[in-house]
Symmetry: C2
Subunit: 178 residues, 2 copies
């Protein structure tokens, strides 16, 4: 069985985007690449779960997620003109737990990525996250969209992280204790 | 001239204490020690600046700070029965910049520690911090007292941190770009 991995770039003060969704500071390190230390090496990722907001913001990633995987979008209602047979998106209207279950079924032995803060928080509250992979960026944004806010079930104990030092980023992978 | 170093234990979600000032989770790693990697090795620290709140919370550390240094307490008014000649505390009522200046004068070539979130934030806004030393603890507290909130002058760019991996803690030292 694959792991459910919440993976995100975060400023040292805990934001995954600025107040107007700007991510320039948070992905400056990204162009330099991870030097073979990707959270999801080629073939490891089986599916991805995100919220409706990211789906809209990215305009459905132009029709296909850059990592080539099937995306499960948690939403209250299916957007107009979706789903499409030729596009790898499933819209899940009965909650996060259902989305993760469907994503796991599709992924098989591969991993499942959680890609948005709201879904990450809900999955943490439901005890569904196996690993928190934080790319910690050396900037203080002051305000913006927090990765981890409003957790209903806290404190959440994590394990000592695996650390990879990058240029302009510190990659931290925390096992989540259930 | 010494460096002004803001040094604190912080949960992965950015808190230096829980909602009731509890710090159990955040200092669990502390007993294990830093294995020779203290932010302030013996003799390196010359003085410390904190806010009135920490002074009250710790009950003036029983009369003397555990690191043996002179403490400058930023406050609106000098507390009753203070200052005392036999106790190494100075109360600064004309603001953070004045406290840091006095702390530097006393420290000489040694470093100056900033020890509370509110003072850290004000010092960051004033461009007075040279290094941010964060002991990042693998726990999500969900709520509490944030280390970095309400920065007036953001974003603040930091340098790539020096990283020391501990058991139950990741020591990160960020140079602050002025």
């Amino acid at each position: 069985m694959g792991s459910v991995i919440a993976s995100m770039s975060m400023s040292l003060d805990g934001f995954v985007a600025g107040p107007n969704d700007e991510v320039d500071h948070l992905f400056a390190w990204y162009d330099a690449g991870r030097a073979g230390d990707e959270v999801f090496p080629p073939g490891a990722l089986g599916s991805l779960v995100c919220g409706r907001r990211l789906f809209e913001l990215t305009n459905a990633w132009g029709g296909r997620h850059p990592m080539g995987v099937h995306v499960f979008v948690v939403t209250h209602s299916v957007p107009d003109a979706w789903p499409r047979e030729d596009r790898p998106f499933t819209f899940v209207t009965d909650g996060v737990a259902s989305a993760v279950r469907q994503a796991k079924d599709l992924a098989g032995r591969r991993d499942i990525a959680i890609a948005t803060p709201a879904i990450t928080q809900q999955c943490l509250d439901l005890g569904l996250v196996d690993m928190l992979a934080v790319d910690l960026v050396p900037v203080l944004l002051g305000q913006g969209i927090p990765l981890l806010a409003g957790l209903a079930r806290a404190p959440v104990e994590l394990g000592t992280p695996a650390v990879v030092e990058g240029r302009g980023v510190t990659h931290l992978r925390y096992p989540v204790h259930h």
